[in-house]
Amino acid sequence: MDHAPTRSSRPALDDLRRSLHTPLERIAVEHADLVATVRQRVLAGESMPSGAVPVAAFNSSI
């Protein structure tokens, strides 16, 4: 009964590579954790708490 709640973490490289070889229709099932992690990481700033730079727009000043 010792369940550490899922912490938002990065998608693992191995998972990302493996999922590329999974048919689209099976990704949600076979890579459910990856989908959850990607959602957490990518969607609307969750991966980008204070101090992150979601859009890098720099004057190039050349």
């Binding site: 009964m1 010792d2 709640p5 990302l16 590579r17 990518v42 101090g51």
Partner: protein, 784 residues
């Protein structure tokens, strides 16, 4: 993201909590002798209601929703826990889940989970869990002997068959989406090989291995002569797992790898979790119950105190202090970034409290070394498929830090971006349910994978999905249309597969990503039927129908605005001035260019491509490998040369159209560095999250967050290399190159040094910037 919690009177600093454990039932149908709830120091369960009353569920949900709203949280995770939460029964569970969804879901995405022993799981309960999109973790310790060493009924009977039956139910296709994984508590008296094999036999999406709870007052059992039996036991499983090609995600091992992200038990990331007990009291993390009676208490409850108030409890805040919250021994330890001091509860010792290393310190140190050392360099995992070869983090980041990557690394970055888009697409399918567009795209993914890949690597598919999947915008622009029909139609067109779908219309136009857009000749309607034909498509039917031929040699179809293509070595680059989701750069994007302007920009881009090849071949290889589209920005006479990159739009950069290929070359190199680093940051944390530090940089007047400094430094490294190359070439048109090179060198060096001194980088980030700094010195003394 703006956070409203800093208003006067809120008190203290912003402390977001995104994970909540709800003790919906405080009794259990098993009698496991290693359970911290009933068998360890804390006995507060005795005074609590058997189940969480509905009014308490609703009060907790309101507090969570209030917190999500105040902090604009994009997601909250709620774990139903106990005791045994399935003791609620199907009706009780349905009621709790409905209440949580009704109160929380209007404000944020609600990720629901349940942790169960599985004994009671049946078809009906599975149906409830699937219907409410709840993901299920099952506690299971492996083979029969291992599981039944602790997980038994009160009468001493085995739970093994019951749990295996539950796992079999979760594997069924109808329930598989709710199968989160298995939680296995380690007992070193068990055979690690048999435990590993038993866990794999259940085909879980993920396994987590937990050290049994112990403290310095109550140390773990250490049978045998070895000093580190837990590291040895886990090391054996790690070796099997690596040799087998890592057939399943094992959270503990992944968390301990460099850049592994951590869990509550490892790493330095803040612990943002609160527990709601069955009586509504706010508690700290549950495992503290192993330390002493009442250890997890806060004195607060959901009726009287908000999440913010509970989060300011000292026991919660200390868990968010990173390395500063650890003992002196831990702070001085070279692997503190991996271990993070271990699970907080395991540090307890009467007298010194939690100001100690973990009681498992020696095991953790040895296990970290084991995970780092195996497989050794050159080791070929026996049954690992070739696509799963190892990518040591250090090697990957070292290469990227120099700005001179191998083709293999660049391909890997692009592949991870495609994989992320596919995962988002799968999330979108989960949200919408089956549709004709999805069925077509899924079919083409098998029948014509190159066609699907061509459309899913379009830079603006991910921004499209992010807008649809992100938290509902209660203010701001309206939601984008369903992306799937247009993507499926484009894939079918590319594959030459007949198909018919209804495609959303926006402002009288349908957008076909990578191909172009069609302005419909008639107004009205939110969607239009599109039929894929050989070499083109038909829109509408009856008298209003229009056939669009995509044959470039044919006459231009009425209303069709093709995406223009610029030939560059080996392929084409898109001038993307039509896709509405290109508007993701935080500055105005240009409307569709007229033909003359598009031709001029095309010439500049093609020439700039040649300039990059001439000046910095390594960066040209990076552009060749990944840049697919250029978005024109709206010209601004006061800032004629601007450029931008969007984190979600890998493969594209935005630039102000300029006629100067030498200037455009610098813009492209600069922005592509941002694109590469953005892709890296999708994979690795290089900067400590939530750092409030701001850093002064020489290239801007304002103080910058550490990630902004990192982005600037990385882009300026490449620009330094461009100007260094031009300076060395000593061309008449580049007499100012030495001055530019010196200026960018100085900016990059000062920025990198400021970052290294800021203590805001993760260990991986420290290494990355250190390597970058070294690459800069090489630039200083030689050609770029």
């Amino acid at each position: 993201m703006a956070c409203r919690c800093g208003s006067p009177g809120s008190g203290g600093s912003c402390r977001r909590i995104s994970q909540f454990v709800l003790k919906v039932h405080s009794r259990c149908d098993l009698s496991c002798d290693h359970c911290y709830v009933y068998q360890h120091a804390d006995q507060t369960w005795r005074g609590r209601p058997v189940r969480m009353p509905p009014a308490t569920v609703r009060a907790a949900a309101k507090r969570i929703a209030e917190h999500a709203r105040e902090h604009d949280l994009p997601v909250v995770h709620v774990v139903l826990h106990g005791g045994e939460p399935l003791l609620l029964g199907a009706a009780g569970l349905r009621e709790v889940l409905a209440d949580l969804r009704a109160v929380i879901a209007p404000w944020t995405r609600l990720d629901l989970r349940i942790q169960t022993n599985g004994v009671l799981l049946d078809e009906e309960l599975c149906g409830v869990l699937v219907d409410h999109d709840v993901r299920v973790g099952v506690s299971f310790d492996g083979d029969r002997a291992a599981n039944d060493r602790h997980r038994v009924f009160a009468h001493g009977g085995s739970s093994h068959d019951h749990v295996r039956r539950a796992l079999a139910l979760l594997r069924q296709p109808a329930h598989r989406a709710s199968y989160a994984g298995i939680l296995c508590t380690v007992d070193v008296r068990n055979d690690p090989d048999r435990v590993y094999e038993a866990l794999l036999a259940e085909h879980p999406p993920r396994v987590d291995l937990l050290l049994p709870h112990a403290t310095w007052d109550r140390p773990p059992d250490r049978p045998g002569d070895t000093a580190t039996p837990y590291a040895d036991w886990l090391g054996r499983i790690h070796r099997r797992w690596v040799d087998d090609g890592r057939p399943v995600s094992i959270r503990l091992f992944e968390a301990l790898r460099p850049g592994g992200g951590g869990t509550e038990a490892f790493g330095l990331a803040p612990a943002d979790v609160l527990v709601v007990e069955a009586d509504g009291t706010w508690e700290q993390v549950d495992s503290l119950k192993t330390a002493y009676h009442g250890a997890a208490g806060t004195g607060f409850d959901v009726f009287g105190q908000s999440v913010d108030e509970a989060a300011r409890h000292p026991g919660v805040t200390v868990r968010q202090a990173g390395v500063a919250g650890l003992s002196a021994t831990c702070r001085a330890c070279p692997v503190v970034d991996r271990c993070g001091g271990g699970l907080y509860a395991h540090r307890w010792r009467t007298g010194s409290g939690f100001d100690n290393p973990s009681v498992y310190c020696a095991d953790l140190r040895r296990l970290i070394d084991t995970v780092a050392a195996y497989p050794p360099p050159g080791h070929a995992a026996g049954s690992a498929p070739p696509e799963r070869d190892d990518w040591p983090v250090d090697e990957l980041l070292d290469e990227l830090a120099t700005g001179h990557e191998s083709e293999r690394t660049l391909d890997l970055l692009a592949a991870t971006q495609l994989s992320i888009t596919r995962a988002l697409l799968a999330a979108w399918r989960e949200k919408t349910g089956p549709t004709a567009a999805w069925e077509l795209l899924a079919h083409l993914d098998g029948a014509a994978p190159d066609a699907v890949r061509a459309v899913l690597t379009h830079s603006f598919v991910r921004p499209w999905l992010v807008r649809r999947l992100g938290p509902s915008t209660r203010s701001g622009p309206p939601r984008a249309a369903d992306p799937l029909p247009a993507l499926a139609v484009v894939a079918a067109l590319r594959a030459g597969v007949p198909a018919a779908l209804s495609v959303p219309v926006r402002a009288g136009t349908i957008m076909l990503p990578t191909l172009g857009s069609l302005a419909l000749p008639y107004a009205g309607g939110e969607s239009v039927d599109v039929t894929v034909l050989p070499g083109g498509f038909r829109v509408g039917d009856g008298p209003a129908e229009q056939v669009v031929s995509l044959d470039p040699a044919g006459p231009p179809p009425a209303g069709w605005r093709p995406t223009r293509r610029v030939p560059v070595p080996g392929r084409h680059l898109l001038i993307e001035d039509g896709d509405p989701h290109r508007d993701c750069y935080g500055q105005p994007v240009a409307s569709r260019l007229d033909d003359g302007a598009a031709r001029a920009l095309g010439r500049t881009l093609a020439d700039a491509w040649g300039v990059v090849h001439r000046d910095v071949p390594a960066h040209a290889a990076a552009l060749d490998a990944g840049l697919r589209a250029v978005v024109p920005l709206t010209p601004d006479p006061t800032r004629p040369l601007r450029s931008a990159t969007a984190r979600d739009a890998f493969g594209a950069v935005a630039v102000t159209p300029t006629a100067d290929p030498e200037a455009m070359a610098v813009l492209l190199v600069h922005e592509w560095q941002h694109a590469k680093l953005g892709a890296v940051l999708d994979l690795y944390d290089l900067v400590e999250p939530n750092s409030a530090t701001r850093i002064r940089v020489p290239w801007r007047p304002d103080l910058r967050p550490p990630e902004g400094v990192l982005q600037g430094v990385y882009a300026h490294l490449a620009v330094t290399q461009v100007w260094r190359s031009r300076a060395d070439a000593d061309r008449p048109e580049h007499q100012d190159a030495p001055a530019h090179a010196a200026r960018y060198l100085s900016w990059t060096r000062d920025g990198a040094d400021a970052l290294l001194a800021s203590r805001t980088l993760t260990p991986a980030g420290d290494r990355f910037v250190g390597r970058l700094r070294h690459a800069l010195e090489e630039t200083r003394v030689g050609p770029g």
